[in-house]
Amino acid sequence: MRTQNATAYRFLTPYLLIFAIFWVWPIISSFLISFQATRTVPWRFAPTFNWGRLIGDPAFYNALKNTLLILVIQVPVMISLAIVMAVLLNSPLLKARGLYRFAFFAPVVVGEVAYSAVFRLMFSLDFGIINKLLNSVGLPKVDWFSNVTPAMALIMIAVTWRWAGYNAIIILAGLQSIPDDVYEAATLDRVSRVKQFFHITLPLLKPVIVFCAVLSIIGTMQLFTEPFLITERGGPGGGTETLGLLLYRQGFRSLNFGYASAVAYTMAGLAIAITLVQLWLTREPK
């Protein structure tokens, strides 16, 4: 095929222009800003100013610890749940499939603010429906907002509720692309359904699951709205403070763009590192 440079770039230009202005330049710019002292005008180049502070900042380590803790617990739980949802929804024995699909997929359309408000109300100490229900079956009330462990659990529950169905949609699409004759052959050979799941379904789903895991890790890495609104600015006492919140606080409350950019690049570095590890762990055996 002959090259069609002029035509192709005419179609691409508007998109690439937006990309250059609002992505390429900012990626470079925030890298440069992270090496500048931005608390005084004019900004000046000070290579260790923000990064030096970051390395010794307890608030940074607290946010990093919380973010990683949420990451290593919430993402595997959610992905496992999403796999269970997708496999069960895919069963030919299921009746009223539409209703079940609605139940699991509906949170996908719910905005962060709307669901944060509902979770905050549902889990409130004295009047929250969750504590009332716990009480009614004889369990003690949980103070979801004043203690760190329940507050972290609440954030993870909320994020899992919001995103499990989203991942289930992707995994279900992956399941439906597995040809039926694979299972027919296994059934003829009297391979049990549990064995079929672990030895046929899961290996074939691996690329899709990795895709979901990578997207979830990048999403959770930037977690902001839930600790901002549900546990009120990362409370109690910074117990649910995340890197996303730290960036918001430093960048847009203290207007310290240099330090916030250093936090942003730390998040990017972590996301890229985790993605690479994930891809390496799940690489195709040669």
Partner: protein
């Protein structure tokens, strides 16, 4: 009954026994959102367990409107989401078309860069975007600030590239032989053929704009310029505020999208699943 169909019945029963409680738990927050939105504040903050809707929805909407201009914010959200969806569908399908149907210098680099941005956290561009739009362009609290920066969308381009590259080349070559210009082929041959994919993309983009929170929170923070989620978010955590009102706002943000979801489920699911099936 044969033992085989008995086993089948048992498995079916087990399936529904596992899935039904899980589905009810998943529906519970949405159900409670509706219930709370219909309760007076003294009902929400009472020691009783209330699981059924009351009749206070309209009062709550009025309470919300008293706390913040939510109707105005909804107006902004709708206008912005519609404009954004139209522009973004246009830009991403043009770019997807170029990547699917033409050979040109730098194609590999463009595709690689677009893929690369998928795994790059948005946090990295947030601060310079803010400085640029708010300070350099002085566009804070405008519609342009809400619409233009999010127009870059990598999954959308990859989705449309996939859609256009699956179409048979003869369709377009026939038009070319007759001397039809490339942009007319794109507009009048390719786009109509891609209608189901465009619908899926449009729904996903509309939803993303409608629910977008962090960027509008930062860039449009003045009361008259806030989108609906931002306006609602400002109320959460205030003391003298109607929680019934907040819940009515949450319902107004959520229920229209749920209805769209039910009506256009197929497109919705296609749009989301497309991310993984490359």
């Amino acid at each position: 009954m044969s033992s085989r169909s008995q086993a089948r019945l048992g498995r079916s029963l087990l399936l529904h026994l596992v899935l039904t409680p899980l589905a009810l738990i998943w529906l519970f927050p949405l159900w409670m959102m509706v219930v709370f939105s219909t309760m007076p504040d003294n009902g929400i903050f009472s020691p009783d367990i209330e699981l059924l809707p009351h009749g206070n929805f309209i009062d709550n909407v009025n309470n919300l409107q008293r706390d913040t201009n939510f109707v105005g914010a909804i107006g902004i959200s709708v206008s912005v989401a519609v404009t954004y969806t139209f522009l973004s569908v246009l830009l991403t399908s043009m770019a997807g078309w170029a990547l699917a149907r033409y050979e040109f210098h730098g194609k590999g680099a463009v595709v690689a860069i677009i893929f690369g941005t998928i795994t790059l956290p948005y946090a990295v561009v947030l601060i310079p975007q803010f400085i640029m739009v708010a300070r350099d362009f002085a566009l804070a609290n405008t519609w342009i600030a809400l619409i233009v920066p999010p127009l870059f969308n990598s999954l959308g381009v990859l989705f449309m590239r996939q859609a256009f590259s699956m179409m048979p080349a003869e369709l377009f070559d026939a038009a070319r032989v007759e001397g039809v210009k490339e942009w007319r082929i794109f507009l009048f041959v390719a786009l109509p053929l891609a209608r189901p994919m465009l619908a899926a993309l449009a729904i996903i983009l509309f939803l993303a704009s409608w629910n977008n929170y962090l960027w509008p929170l930062l860039i449009n923070s003045q009361p008259g310029a806030m989108t609906a989620p931002v306006a609602l978010g400002t109320l959460i955590g205030l003391t003298k505020v109607s929680w019934g009102g907040i819940m009515a706002g949450a319902v107004m943000l959520t229920v229209p999208m749920l209805i769209v979801f039910v009506l256009l489920q197929r497109h919705f699911i296609a749009g989301i699943a497309a991310g993984a099936v490359k």
